[in-house]
Symmetry: D2
Subunit: 241 residues, 4 copies
């Protein structure tokens, strides 16, 4: 485990973008595992800036995202598909055929998840996986529980998540209650893992996850076992370690 202390959100984003850029430059046909959420937005902005300067070429890069809401289509503005396009893909020369997220519109969870595992397998696995962390230690939608999940599965959203999402949907029945998400095994088999974390709300979980016991009650704690895991945090997120 390597911990990099960043001076600010901007600095964290630049340091993370440097690692993603290095992966793309060293292996132009690499497979990037990407994440949604507010934390990586600055990282994506920096990548777009370097792409525009001519430093980066995404033409051969493949991407797999961690998760997608069950029931949301690509057109839905709340979908992670939409998020990724607005915040990254629409601004770089990525090949649309090489962009992968779980298919939220597949009503059969077993099929949707098996399909996504097959996509990742056929790509040869993930070279570099970008992660955020939830304040309860979840990574992707792998929530605290009694066991570590393996492959892509259909996860029930917590009531907190469902509640928080309500403001984005006109009708209550449209609010997603489940998501298709990569499992812990898929994430752990990425050749390199990069986590970004900022703000004081992450400080406690970061101490617990990376300096406490490895147990399924803290899903991110398993990352302590990964041979090439880097955590980049701002001063607030790393305040307790």
């Amino acid at each position: 485990m390597k911990i990099i202390r960043a001076a600010s959100y901007q600095d964290m984003s630049r340091k993370a973008a440097n690692i993603l850029s290095a992966q793309v430059i060293m292996k132009p046909n690499c497979v990037l595992g990407l994440a949604t959420g507010s934390t990586p937005i600055g990282t994506y902005k920096q990548l777009i800036e370097w792409y525009e300067k001519g430093d980066l070429d995404f033409a051969e890069v493949s991407t797999v995202n961690l998760d997608e809401y069950r029931g949301l289509s690509k057109d839905d503005e709340q979908s992670y598909w939409h998020f990724m396009h607005v915040n990254l893909f629409d601004h770089i020369n990525i090949d649309p055929a090489r962009v992968h997220l779980p298919d939220g519109t597949n009503p059969d969870p077993a099929a949707a998840c098996a399909d996504y595992d097959a996509v990742i397998h056929d790509l040869g696995g993930i070279d570099l996986q970008l992660l955020g962390i939830g304040s309860d230690g979840h990574i992707a939608f792998n929530e605290p529980g009694a066991a570590f999940e393996l492959g892509t599965h259909c996860a029930n959203l917590t009531e907190d998540t469902i509640e928080a999402n309500k403001r984005f949907f006109a009708r209550k029945e449209d609010v997603p209650r489940q998501a298709y998400t990569m499992g812990i095994k898929t994430i752990m088999q990425a050749r390199k893992i990069l986590m970004v974390a900022n703000g004081p709300k992450k400080a406690a979980i970061i101490k617990q996850a990376f300096f406490g016991p490895v147990m399924p009650e803290v899903p991110a704690s398993i990352l302590q076992m990964h041979p090439d895991f880097t955590l980049i945090g701002d001063a607030e997120a790393l305040a307790l370690i």
Copy 2:
């Protein structure tokens, strides 16, 4: 996870020895992680036979064993050091300087464990780790618990183990109550893992560990996450899967 069904203990041993031999032939200076216990004895016998035929050369091989009893010296006939020499090392051309076990005579557990982690690190990690499995799912001395251990640590033996060992020691106070053992992280970072299991007493745990949830209450279950894990069992051990 790859499961190989063997017809008998002899067949299991030959199949396991074939994999160990292949590792030695493909990478003559490889690092083998070895195990004690009754199960691998047949595997070691087969390796000795092929060595004597001229098929194998151990001159550049390094070995690291999973564990050693705290307090026992190399001379002690109950030590794992002794076991490995009697059952394998004394019969092949291994370089004594390349044989490694935790130092049972080091009275300082923290130092003994840190030293052993440093040995494994300096060797560049383990190419192939051979494992058995306990009927409660333990691997090495990683016993069922609330969390997965990471590196080498000092484990308390279960009362069952202590009781069973009593017959080997003249004086009760000589019976070891602790062992220095590799942790789960070290084992999981081996590039290839090979487990041998035989007999009906292993059938239930093999079903639970490899077809049940991944949780620290069943330490071996974590092997489901390893990218190159092979289980070779006889018909009895694999009867329930």
Copy 3:
């Protein structure tokens, strides 16, 4: 460069078969590069014997052969396709869909060669390439010349070769005058290279190729640059080194 001295042709064959077996066991879906000629026949016999004992499983193995005569069909008893089936493939559980040789019946050399390079590329390259050596230093049909050839190409057979082949053909005009052959680059990019050589006729070229200058006049000399090249020879072939 690693040189292994064998006591006899049988010993050379067993040692070579050990390395091929190890590759298959360590990576069951490996890509083997195979060779024709009298030298490797003993190696193939040993592989067949171990396959029959249950030690080897070729179900997932892919093979690519070094070369094929231009103009000969698979049915032709003089074709290398035929040679490989009679001496190896007909006796093991290889998947016919995973067996590859250049297509001797393709009348367009450029297309035949490009197709074969694509096959090798799509397989992810060669894990282990078996080679013999000609007494003039040729490997496959890469003959001595002013430059090293790169990919698969159409080579003119030497008059000696054409003459020697005449006895196998009823009509003079059926004797092949060209062959499609892997180039030096393809061979050099194999992750592991294994050469077998026996008999006194090989002694001089082995000294020249592996202890003399690296130059296209001695095609095999380039193997001195390979990071994982093993030569197994009997006493006669290694007599001068």
Copy 4:
């Protein structure tokens, strides 16, 4: 072979620096093979600029340079040791203990060269080798000849080189007539090779070396066989291809 067309010397230098930076970021303890000459100076300038911005950390990087003049000490302003320090090492946080060049002051060429090969071997080989190219196709001091050299050796400088160097030395007898230089095998075993070339004087040799036959008369032509070779040139250098 991958060819990247740069708009200018500055653009070439930035693109090359991006690849070197990516190597350092992806593997902070990597081994960089570095080169002297006027061409890479812009690349080194860019690396220094990014280091000063906080994007790069050389603390764990090791370097091996291609060559050193025989007879020149580290203090000599004409030594490559001096060149590398003035143009790169003095401006970044490289660990002096991790900087390696052949020892020009060792009067025994065999010992100096064997020592340097041992240094490279002990470092585990070169991750990324930066190269320029001479207008006669030489790389490092591997001059056109009848054979490819393998490891580090003592090369006689051409009369042109000796003549051109005279202006830098007060006394004629101080002008070096030989250099210790990595051989072709060492260069070819680098995991990644990056060549920079600019200006019209390089156009003809670039066409010949990378689109002509692979032969020792054009040492750089061997790079056509490398599995991961990138050429970055400005418009003038790439004018004929």
